[in-house]
């Protein structure tokens, strides 16, 4: 039971770093520090509302974090636009030239950032909960409180846009 304070301590220890990472990758570290703290404060306040019969705590935390991000949509879009203009920050290890599977060698962080900035908020949420958090469709549905079918349709639309933008075959 996460309503016990010591159990919530364990929740903080187990998930703070990954929630911080998720928020940082989406909106930048400046915003992430604030939002990660707020995510856990809200989770602590809502701990009695958490329903273990509905889903796991991890998607629940990602859901809170994602909802908080919506208040910082501009910061997230600025983050993508900055990446689109300048590529990865200097301390990154040069992923921008990485070639993956069937994707073309010309695909860069800049192009991907541009694409992410063009997705709708709902599409971006499901794509990045799958990509960054590794959540299943059911877990994304639980995190965002939408139907699994909605998750699937948003992912499908996002995939189509990705294929068009990145020039890859399905």
């Amino acid at each position: 039971m996460i309503t016990a304070p010591d159990a919530f301590t364990a929740v903080f220890d187990a998930h703070y770093t990954e929630i911080h990472r998720y928020l940082g990758r989406r909106a930048g570290l400046d915003v992430a520090e604030d939002l990660a703290a707020e995510t856990f404060l809200i989770a602590f306040r809502q701990r009695k509302l958490f329903d273990a019969s509905v889903g796991e705590i991890r998607p629940w935390l990602y859901g809170i974090a994602t909802n908080l991000l919506r208040r910082h949509r501009r910061a997230e879009l600025r983050h993508y636009r900055a990446l689109a203009r300048t590529g990865p920050p200097p301390d990154d290890d040069g992923h921008d030239q990485r070639v993956v599977d069937r994707l073309t060698a010309g695909v860069t962080i800049a192009r991907l950032a541009e694409l992410l900035s063009r997705l709708s908020t709902g599409e971006r949420d499901v794509v990045l909960l799958v990509a960054y958090a590794g959540l299943s469709y059911a877990e994304v549905a639980h995190a965002l409180n939408v139907a699994e079918g909605t998750v699937a349709s948003r992912l499908s639309r996002a995939r189509t846009k990705m294929r068009e933008a990145l020039g890859v075959e399905a």
């Binding site: 304070p5 010591d6 911080h20 602590f44 990446l83 990154d92 990485r98 993956v100």
Partner: protein, 350 residues
């Protein structure tokens, strides 16, 4: 093509993990925010404070934090609904031979003299174990709605407004609906269409699934193909009836909330008040034309508080319901319902 998402994860820049100092700062910020909230009630047991620094800080937050009496601002309406549904599903199913529901019925409408009036009445509906059903309605009052209409009514000489007690002594109580069809589900009919119908028994209703997807599948099986009613309309109708005025387990009701929330055109709105002034989270369903149906749900228990209709009615402020069923009591008991004396047709079978 799963690799698209793996690709995003692998290509997009990562961020460094928080340093120990940043982690400590985050904890300190939590503690600071917790201190800004009112302290716990005197005498409340101080929470666990173990030796580890993490436990010390978070335990201190716990001791300072009040219980979650209100939803924090960042809780989305859907999250509030999901939590309420979870608590409803956890309720015991109830016991007794009769399922009985009592509602206050409210109607804000234009009276014969042209000004808005508010009609109120009490309705009882009960289902027994042997196909027996009971129902009766009694008018309670009709009054002018609001100060402006009251003034118009006064200027007209304060005429007696009906329906109200004493207006029709020969019809003080009457069944508000056809009792032989009280358990029958009728889907919304479209012009020229034949509609759809499902007449389950009480036992069949109580055996319905308690998980949203399974409930949707079960209700879809009852969907009469080939009619003029869409599958979505059918699920809207049957789902909302299950939480309103038929016997169903708490688990099935909770599943119906969750199912309804996923249907096209349905939205979830928090902090909606029913005409009794009770605040809750609402499932807002599309109805005919500009009319919207709101199922107002208690955030803490998940119980249905009221069903209300909202539409732009001249004279009514925007968002104020023009019609509502306010739930006064709903549940199981062993006392056989006894219709009022002289109430014709107030008991029957379905």
């Amino acid at each position: 093509m799963k690799s698209e998402f793996e690709f995003i994860d692998r290509v997009m820049p990562d961020v460094p993990p928080p340093t120990p100092a940043q982690l400590a700062a985050a904890r300190a910020r939590l503690a600071e925010a917790a201190r800004a909230t009112p302290p716990a009630a005197p005498g409340r047991r101080v929470m666990v404070l173990a030796a580890a620094a993490v436990v010390l800080v978070i335990g201190a937050i716990a001791a300072l934090m009040p219980p979650a009496a209100r939803q924090p601002a960042a809780a989305t309406p859907s999250q509030v609904l999901a939590a309420a549904a979870g608590r409803l599903a956890a309720q015991p199913p109830g016991a007794g031979r009769y399922w009985r529901m009592e509602t206050e019925e409210l109607l804000r409408t234009k009276g014969v003299d042209g000004y808005l009036v508010e009609e109120r009445g009490l309705d009882v509906l009960a289902f027994g174990p042997d196909g027996d059903v009971y129902g009766w309605y009694e008018a309670v009052s009709t009054t002018p709605y609001g100060a402006k209409n009251t003034e118009t009514w006064r200027r007209a000489g304060s005429p007696r407004l009906c329906p109200a007690p004493g207006c029709d002594e020969n019809l003080r109580h009457y069944p508000r609906q056809a009792l032989d069809e009280a358990l029958t589900f009728h889907a919304v009919r479209r012009p020229g269409g034949g509609g759809a119908r499902w007449a389950p028994t009480r036992a069949e209703l109580l055996a319905l699934p308690q998980e949203a997807a399974a409930l949707k599948a079960e209700l879809s099986k009852r969907y009469p193909a080939g009619g003029s009613v869409s599958r979505a309309d059918w699920l809207l109708e049957t789902g909302s009836r299950l939480v309103l005025n038929v016997p169903a387990t708490p688990g099935t009701r909770a599943a119906a909330y969750r199912m309804l929330a996923t249907l096209p055109g349905v939205s979830v709105i928090d902090d909606v008040r029913d005409p009794a002034g009770r605040a809750g989270v609402a499932l807002q369903l599309p109805a005919s034309g500009a009319d919207l149906v709101q199922l107002v749900i208690d955030r803490q228990s998940g119980d249905l508080l009221a069903v209300q209709h909202v539409a732009p009615v001249p004279g009514l402020p925007p968002g104020v319901p023009w019609s509502a069923s306010i739930i006064k009591r709903a549940g199981w008991g062993d006392a056989r319902p006894v219709p009022p004396p002289g109430c014709a047709g107030c008991a029957g079978t379905y």
